[in-house]
């Protein structure tokens, strides 16, 4: 760690974030906590506030000069914080700080996404996805100027607004939902701010914002290019709810500014929602009274049928399977748990190419939002959300299957290493697992997990090991988000196949494509927080 000059201040942190100096910003973030004992919660709020004006885009579709459309990525800074805050409670002690340092490391790289995709601002999208350094190199070609610092101030596409008050709560919630679906960002945001002021309204507001996010989902991503959102409206809504609860709603204005306007951003996609509403109206007229849990959870045979439909079937197979479970009396969470568990077979058995994990695991994270909404709130439409999540999973699987498989990305079977894993004493297995996740050795990592799961009922330390290893990788908020989803769903899942969530999780974290080969951010964390057994 080099010598850092000058005092660490929140003003300095803000300047470094807005200047896309992510290494400096991360050091300042750490110093504020270690040298000045500033609470982590306050520093997260400061970082969110510094980024808030610069994470909006005019649209998530950009019209090119020739009339074609390209997608514009969704803000991921807030998703990193949501995952990190969730994982903090999973990783004990100072280890829980690590995901937050990773979230901080990413924030300066995730501003001004619109400018990044057209190579006019530095950051992760410009540097990695768009390869802007090759298209528009600077005077020193050995330096990628799209790694930062910024050469211009970031642009604000949506100014902060005042709250809109007046009218009954029911009226304002309905207006807000309508404004989001019609794309009136200012009206939706103002109404949200007005409603959020009164603590009495907040539970209904959270339910409404989750509903808005969950219902806005593409019907397919197959050959759609940028005309999709891969669940980001729901993911943002969940981030808002979790982070506001963590910061305190009276302390979360910049979080609201970060999240709410984008819920109404274009494109807004209600094709799948319309389809599911139609089939529920036809086949499940009593859908609003289906219980969350029943005494008729899915049988082993039904779990097999659902796996076949999600992993190998088509959209109507998925509709038919889920419809059948509800018709015979299964509860919403009974089916939702099964959807989460059955999907894991795709991660465990089918996926090989590191790039191919991205869309299916977005669907898993979306389904986690659905399940948490069902668990924590009461809404008559929740049964429809289970269809939505299962259809999203199935569609991403079909989208991947629409590309011929490249044999150069073949994986060795996990079974090949099972006897090797079984020979490792159980009390020495987890450090070996950590090493193989860090080496991105999926077959051995998966074999170790298979062996561990069969030899012991211990799960906490196993999940801790996978998560801590996964959080070594930088530049990617998906890692924290998927960790949070997988761990939460494992804890709540009541199917006989809940351990498959761990099997899928370790396969993902030991195979998914990495955005950087080095662990610079992890080393910053170690330098400042000096965790035991780093």
């Amino acid at each position: 760690m080099g010598l850092i000059q000058g005092a660490a201040t929140v003003d300095r942190l803000r300047e470094e974030i807005q200047g896309v100096r992510y290494r400096d910003a991360t050091s300042t973030f750490c110093r504020l906590m270690t040298e000045q004992d500033r609470p982590l919660k306050d520093m997260i709020k400061a970082a969110i506030a510094s980024a808030a004006p610069y994470v909006q885009v005019p649209s998530h579709l950009m019209q090119l000069p020739n009339g074609e459309l390209r997608g514009v990525n969704y803000d991921h800074t807030i998703l990193g914080w949501r995952g990190a805050i969730s994982l903090m409670g999973e990783l004990g002690g100072s280890r829980g700080i690590l995901p937050n340092i990773q979230a901080m490391w990413y924030v300066p790289q995730g501003l001004n996404v619109w400018e990044q995709v057209i190579c006019e601002f530095p950051g992760h999208y410009a540097r990695d996805g768009e390869q802007c350094g090759k298209k528009f190199p600077g005077p020193d070609e050995s330096v990628n100027r799209f790694d930062g610092p910024a050469w211009s101030v970031p642009r604000i596409y949506f100014q902060d607004h005042d709250p809109i008050e007046g009218g009954s709560v029911d009226e304002r919630l309905a207006r807000m939902n309508w404004a989001i679906s019609e794309g009136d960002k200012a009206e939706a945001y103002g109404l949200f701010l007005g409603l959020a002021r009164d603590p009495v309204n907040r539970r209904r507001l959270k339910d409404a914002i989750l509903f808005a996010g969950i219902t806005d989902l593409q019907d397919t991503i197959i050959n759609r290019g940028g005309y999709q959102n891969i669940g980001h409206k729901a993911l943002r809504a969940r981030a808002l709810v979790d982070i506001a609860d963590y910061l305190g709603w009276d302390n979360a204005h910049e979080l609201f500014y970060t999240v709410v306007p984008d819920l109404g951003c274009s494109p807004r996609l209600y094709g799948l929602w319309s389809e599911i509403c139609t089939i529920c109206k036809m086949e499940l007229p009593g859908y609003a009274s289906i219980p969350k849990r029943s005494d008729k959870p899915l049988t082993e045979r039904e779990l097999d049928v659902l796996t076949e439909a999600i992993v190998w079937g088509g959209p109507f197979d998925v509709n038919a399977a889920i419809m059948g479970f509800f018709k015979r009396g299964a509860g919403i969470l009974d089916v939702g748990d099964a959807v989460i568990a059955c999907f894991q077979r795709y991660l465990i058995d089918v996926l090989e190419h590191p790039n191919a994990f991205l869309h299916p695991t977005h669907a898993l994270d979306y389904m986690n939002v659905v399940q948490s909404w069902v668990r924590d709130y009461d809404n008559p439409h929740q049964v429809k959300a289970v269809f939505m999540g299962a259809r999203f999973m199935n569609d991403t699987i079909r989208s991947n299957a629409n590309f011929p498989r490249d044999p150069t990305f073949n994986l060795e079977p996990r079974a090949k290493y099972r006897s090797w894993a079984d020979d490792i004493p159980i009390d020495r297995l987890l450090p070996v697992l950590k090493d193989h996740v860090l080496a991105q050795d999926a077959p051995r990592s998966c074999a170790l997990v298979d062996s561990y799961l069969e030899r012991t009922s211990e799960r906490h330390d196993l999940l801790d090991t996978i998560t801590y290893a996964a959080c070594h990788w930088q530049n990617d908020p998906h890692v924290m988000r998927n960790g949070a989803s997988s761990l939460e769903e494992f804890r709540h899942n009541r199917t006989s196949r809940r351990d498959d969530i761990i099997r899928g999780y370790v396969k993902h974290q030991s195979r998914y494509v990495k955005r950087a080969p080095t662990h610079d951010c992890f080393h910053v964390y170690v330098d400042y927080f000096k965790p035991a057994n780093a």
Binding site: I222, N223, F403, P404, D406, P407
Partner: protein
Amino acid sequence: MSDDQTLAEFWRIRNAAAVTLALTEEQMRRVVQTASVEQLVALFETFSPARSAGPEWTRTFDPLVEHLWAWGDSETIAAVAELFRARGLPWASVANALSPNQGDRLRAATPHPSWARQPAFGLI
């Protein structure tokens, strides 16, 4: 298993399906062995995401590659691979599947038990 069906009945049904598939595979062997480079290229082009009839069709890519390496002529396969390699990254999966290394691996990995009419190809 339902009460009115025996294991033997299930096995008889499975065997009927296997005989049908074996006859189909024999037809497939003959057409693969006589296919020209142009015909094979046209077949592989149907696996482009833009032309595919859907995931159910594209999922048959791996079995097709298995059949080609089991029965096809190496020179013909090399000619097809070269054409797809020249088309760049979008066709890398096809070119890689038809590379000699992949052929050696598949030929070694696809068992052909002495009691079976054909190699044990994957289904889908």
